[in-house]
């Protein structure tokens, strides 16, 4: 067994599933981390657990996080509707400081595990305009990680891996298909049913649909009938 350990942020969506496959391919023993942060689409948590099993990860944890209490996002606040049209600028589905919080907690687990590598499926191309998906954010977080921790200070050096950051959705799908990912097990929809069926009309569904089209790949997404 490999002793290279990596913490992989796994939402249960298409991007993070592809990242997990890439980390496995690179020979890491994977520790997947998911968050129950009050999101509407709980079915993605079921997808994350299923994907963790399929990929034979070393451990999978789902951390409860009471951030939904703050509101302020269509993904956690029932009073804000998920938009169904293309959005200009930063959309209401943006969850304040989400990736900062997720990476921070991943960093804590990595330090306990003695892992130096953290994988995250952020993407700066088809990225819905979220500020915490950009390369400059990731690089600032990496610097922070090495100042913030005992492991960083003692010199082991954390690395944040973003293998999809420059890919289009179509390229991500092509990478994943080359690694034989079963994308029917992933959930991208912002308002998926508990069975994991997609609405087909939200921003996330739209990007995913276009991705399969452009990749000229079969779309296995299960849509609500």
């Amino acid at each position: 067994m490999t002793n290279k350990k990596a913490v992989v942020l796994l939402s249960g969506g298409l991007d993070s599933a592809t990242v997990l496959a890439i980390a496995k391919e690179q020979g890491y023993a994977c520790y997947t981390l998911s968050f129950d942060y009050g999101q509407r689409h709980k079915s993605e948590l079921k997808a994350a657990a299923k994907l963790s099993k399929v990929f034979g990860v070393t451990a999978h944890k789902t951390i409860k996080l009471g951030m939904g209490e703050f509101g302020g996002s269509a993904l956690t606040d029932d009073d804000i509707d998920v938009p169904i049209k293309k959005v200009i600028g930063i959309p209401v589905t943006y969850v304040p400081a989400r990736n900062t919080v997720f990476l921070s907690i991943a960093l804590g687990w990595a330090e306990v595990l003695g892992a130096k590598d953290i994988f995250i499926g952020v993407n700066a191309v088809d990225y819905s305009g979220y500020p915490d998906c950009r390369p400059e954010f990731i690089s600032a977080f990496e610097s922070l990680a090495n100042l913030a921790t005992k492991a960083g200070v003692e010199g082991s050096g954390f690395k944040i891996h973003t293998p999809l950051i420059n890919d289009t959705k179509a390229q991500i799908i092509q990478k994943g298909n080359a690694l034989n990912i079963d994308y029917s097990a992933t959930v991208s929809c912002y308002q998926a049913t508990i069975k994991g069926e997609a609405c087909g009309v939200c921003e996330s569904c739209r990007l995913r649909k276009q991705g399969f089209e452009k990749a000229k790949a079969q779309d296995p997404t299960r849509y609500k009938s």
Copy 2:
């Protein structure tokens, strides 16, 4: 009423109580944030709630955070004893990435509230050797905050306030006494009883005790008899 809003990280200990008093003194409407992260000393959460009431904060939230699951610290892992002697280097009471996680969640709340100011009671003098209490960590987090968020990108500029960072424990106590803080309501002990009584022998008790001595102030701490 003031419209300057600040999120104040409030553990219920001596330092964060002093920070809350300082933020109030500076005219902020305060939103206090505490974490139930699996720490041994739950009585500090009761202290945080009590202090929030005493100081008349606008809102107080306690966020549950399943980080205790990771273990790796004497504060969250029952298998690791809290040390009772002076420790050289970074001690086992260090909780991996704790301040990074706390500040990230504070940032999320601040963004939702439209607050630009976050207060944290870190201290680089009597600081127990934690890497995430140093000025270089705070300044890296501030840069990150302005890259990570919609509010940061759109130019409002977050500021992380650390009014105690260069103070000795004695100086902190003197500041607090000048602001009439009732320190008997605060809990510093790493293994306080549920009633908030301190052990008197852990690192945190030792630093606090010395602080009151050096400040020539009466120590109102309730010790276990």
